[in-house]
């Protein structure tokens, strides 16, 4: 954005605020895409916040069933967290590799990201399956309902992310590092990092706060 003084351009500044901030015109495609995707991510976080709110309202409504402190296993959650945070790092490596058009490191970074994501999902799935087997499924109490929904919603996003990740690998394989593929890769990376941020919220609100009670 360039700034020009008003002298001689009173017409451009009818309210005499002193400065005319020139607008350069439409932004380049890369900016537009990233911006739009950010707006989508914000809306997605609004959706998550509803499930967080529901969890906050229902956390004490155990209806005679187990409380959070009785079912959460710190060790599993720690491993999950490490996996997800590491995967964010490897995803970042893959993005850098894509930017410098290095296929080998791109595939390696994406493959490790995929693997870590899958490990996360397997641990989460086992936690859920174990709870259901013990009779603590989501229909046991409102607390478990909100717990399964909030954590499951995040898990669903991770699953979709892995599907997207594999599609991206296939796209780079078939199309190479074309401009539109790179834009999609950028969106995918934003998505994956955002899931990390949401997980930090889940980890803190559900597991850390819940275990103490």
């Amino acid at each position: 954005m360039s700034m020009t003084a008003t002298a001689g351009r009173a017409h451009a500044d009818p309210h005499h605020i002193g400065l005319v901030i020139g607008h350069p015109g439409p932004a380049p495609k890369r900016i537009v895409t990233a911006y739009g995707f950010w707006v989508f991510l914000l809306s997605d976080i609004v959706m998550f916040s509803c499930f967080f709110a529901a969890y906050a309202v229902l956390a004490d409504q155990t209806a005679g069933g187990p409380k959070g402190s009785e079912i959460f296993e710190q060790r599993n959650v720690a491993i999950e967290t490490v996996c997800l945070l590491l995967s964010s790092f490897t995803c970042g490596m893959a993005s850098i590799a894509a930017d410098v058009r290095n296929r080998f490191w791109f595939y390696l970074g994406m493959a490790v990201t995929c693997l870590l994501g899958l490990i996360f999902l397997v641990i989460e799935f086992r936690e859920f399956a174990d709870l259901v087997a013990r009779g603590y499924g989501p229909s046991r109490s409102a607390f478990l309902t909100s717990f399964f929904s909030l954590v499951g919603c995040h898990g669903l996003h991770v699953s979709a992310g892995i599907l997207w990740l594999l599609t991206m690998m296939a796209q780079v394989f078939a199309k190479g590092f074309r401009a539109d593929v790179l834009r999609r890769m950028m969106c995918f990376a934003l998505f994956w990092h955002a899931l990390d941020i949401v997980w930090v919220g889940v980890f803190s609100v559900v597991y850390l706060l819940g275990s103490g009670v």
Binding site: V20, I21, G25, G36, S43, V46, S139, A142, L163
Partner: protein, 666 residues
């Protein structure tokens, strides 16, 4: 194999939906047959269904809204007749059916009439006003439209296959829970809103990005036309509020499908949480609808007064203030839930505060008209009708924002009258004003003036005759959603309201006649200059209808009222445009992605409603495959060569030169 679906789903014992369904089916088949026989199918497919042109998508949104307006309107007629005849009798509608009608009426009018109408107008006009070629994500735009159409289709399917919700338009639990609504009605409701809600979110993201990132050279924030500002505010609200709806409906569906306990009576579920969530979306929704209408009135009032909008900056401020405050008032929808006087007082005051920026707007419109050369064309009539009507609606709104008053008026016909007062007087009048105002831009010819004015007067008077009696009935203690009643004092008011409904219907018929007459006389009504109203913003700077690329070269904006400026300067310097230098233009290629997505969404939605699980999986795979195929495209753009751009633009410039010599008088 077919889940819950069997022959009992077709209501053979109920003549009204069956006959209505048959008529609609015959109508659709007739239109389809006509299209195929006349050989219009390839044209429709290539030019409209797969189009990613924002103008065409906008037109299709408005077409969808108009068709659904007829559907929602017939529901309204049926309700008014029922309440007129149901004094000490059962009326002509069985309770089951009546409950479905009022639920469907509300759902359709908000989600499938008001929403597509305003989104359609925004789609059509905003890129033109910003001086750009398209929206930020053209293909996504098409996906958004077709998902909205899917939702509308599912709602209409419920007329013949199965049933619709009997819960009111917001499906409050526990009534909407499986134990009280075991049928598929609520599932129809939830899935159609879920699917169309995703379409709306997509449109919101698209328009926010368009306004913030795609303005032409020199188009500062404080030079954007008011309609762009209100579009921005409205779509920010969509992006912030619609995910709440998605989450809430997902919770309700989890309760119904998998035995979860978000909103159930037992196992610790919390019904009031649904009220909070749904209204945290629902209140901003009101402003999502009315803010674009405010933008339309700003454009119309300024154009037909021949003056720049009075207090442009205060208007921007008021718009953004409404955008923010609308998120802080949701609890006024359930003052009676027992939140306590402190909470009620805070939300009551917050609700009343919204009247301040709205008042600023009304005064600005009045001052814009003051001292102007007012032309009473049809869009201007709708705008003035709006101002009068909306003030009444706003005042009754402040009344129900007083918690003690609300304890008396809660769930009464007074409330029904209030929100129809603001939604019809605000949103619908705005939609009609925008429709009349921008019709020549979209199609290249004006609408017939006489029929337009007749439509306005019948609708305007019909509105008052219908809804003022409902205020009175509410004051007399009549509650909403009444199947039948025994109170003699309500009867006369219900009869008057039914008469008003008839007058309103004449207004609608006038509008249909207007369309037919105008299409028939389109040669006489042709708009050759692209600027039929002596307009002020950039959409009038291009031909009507605009070429696919909107502008041959990016306009350079030097101040507010960009096109008005251009005209006056051209006149002062007694020359037309300088011969511009033309370049090749890249435009996005048409794509069936949106239509195919909607096809699979329809399959999936229908399968989910009837618990046909294999079909759900099939639909899901299809939707994913569509995205992959779309992502695999190698050529997503095509080039319009500079000579072709020049040839198209030269015609436009010729017409415009003659215009410049006449118009632009300050």
């Amino acid at each position: 194999m077919l889940g819950k679906l069997d022959w009992s789903a077709i209501p053979f014992d109920q003549p009204i939906p069956l006959i209505a369904g048959a008529v609609v089916l015959v109508g659709i088949l007739a239109v389809l047959a006509w299209v195929v026989v006349k050989g219009h199918l390839p044209y429709l497919w290539h030019e409209w269904i797969t189009s990613v042109d924002h103008k065409r998508i906008g037109v299709m949104y408005i077409l969808l809204a108009s068709v659904m307006l007829l559907r929602g309107g017939s529901d309204a007629i049926m309700m008014r007749i029922q309440q007129a005849v149901a004094y000490q009798s059962q009326g002509y509608l069985p309770p089951e059916h009546y409950n479905q009608i009022f639920s469907a009426h509300g759902t359709i009018m908000i989600f499938f009439v008001a929403m597509p109408f305003v989104i359609g107008l925004m789609n059509l006009i905003v890129p033109l006003q910003l001086g750009v070629r398209d929206v930020a994500f053209p293909t996504l735009n098409s996906v958004g439209f077709w998902l909205t159409a899917t939702g509308a289709l599912l709602v209409n399917l419920s007329l013949v296959i199965g049933e619709f919700a009997r819960t009111g338009w917001l499906a409050f639990p526990p009534l909407s829970e499986l134990s009280y609504s075991p049928g598929v009605g609520v599932d129809y409701y939830a899935w159609s809103l879920q699917i169309s809600g995703i379409g709306t979110l997509v449109a919101g993201i698209n328009l926010v990005t368009t306004v913030l990132k795609l303005r032409t050279k020199g188009m500062n924030y404080l030079r954007m036309p008011m309609f762009c500002w209100t579009t921005l505010a409205s779509n920010l609200l969509i992006v912030a509020a619609f995910p709440i709806l998605t989450a809430t409906l997902a919770m309700l569906l989890l309760d119904r499908y998998l035995g979860f306990h978000f909103f159930t009576n037992e196992a610790g579920g919390n019904v009031m949480m649904f009220m909070n969530l749904i209204w945290a979306w629902g209140h901003p929704e009101v402003y999502i609808l009315v803010l674009p209408a405010f933008g339309i009135f700003s454009e119309v009032v300024s154009t037909f007064s021949g003056k720049a909008l009075f207090g442009y900056r205060s208007m921007v401020l008021a718009t953004m203030a409404i955008c923010v405050i609308s998120f802080m008032v949701w609890l006024h929808h359930f003052f009676t839930m027992g939140a306590g006087p402190d909470v009620n007082a805070i939300f009551g005051i917050a609700s009343m505060i919204i009247a301040i920026p709205t008042g600023v707007k009304i005064y600005n419109w009045l001052f814009t008209m003051y001292g102007g050369r007012i032309r009473f064309e049809t869009p201007m009539l709708w705008s003035i009708g709006f101002m009068v009507t909306f003030i009444i609606g706003g005042l009754t709104g402040v009344l129900v924002a007083v918690p003690p008053a609300d304890f008396i008026l809660h769930n009464s016909m007074f409330l029904v009258a209030h929100f129809h007062n603001v939604i019809i007087g605000g949103v619908l009048f705005g939609a009609f004003a925008g429709f009349e105002y921008w019709f020549p831009k979209a199609f290249g010819f004006r609408l017939n003036d006489r029929w337009g004015k007749l439509a306005f007067w019948f609708t305007f008077l019909g509105f008052y005759v219908t809804f003022i009696p409902l205020y009175v009935a509410g004051m007399l203690g009549m509650t909403r959603r009444m199947q039948h009643y025994d109170v003699a004092a309500w009867r006369p008011w219900m009869l008057v309201a039914a008469v008003g409904m008839a007058v309103l219907t004449i207004g609608v018929i006038c509008q249909i006649v207007q369309l037919v007459v105008s299409i028939r006389n389109r040669e006489a009504l042709r708009d050759r200059t692209g600027d039929p109203w002596d307009g002020r913003s950039l959409e009038w700077a291009t031909s009507s209808p605009p070429p696919v690329f909107n502008f041959a070269f990016n306009p350079d904006v030097r101040g507010e009222d960009a096109y008005w400026d251009l005209k006056t300067h051209a006149k002062q310097q007694s020359l037309g445009h300088d011969a511009p230098e033309y370049h090749d233009i890249e435009m996005p290629r048409n794509s069936p992605t949106g239509f195919v997505c909607a096809f699979f969404a329809t399959v999936m939605g229908f399968a989910l409603i009837w618990h046909i699980w294999w079909m759900v999986i099939l639909g899901g795979i299809g939707a994913f495959a569509t995205f992959v195929v779309f992502a695999w495209r190698d050529h997503d753009e095509y080039v319009i060569p500079a000579e072709e751009v020049a040839a198209i633009d030269r015609v436009n410039l010729e017409e415009r030169r003659s215009l410049v010599s006449m118009a632009g008088t300050v």
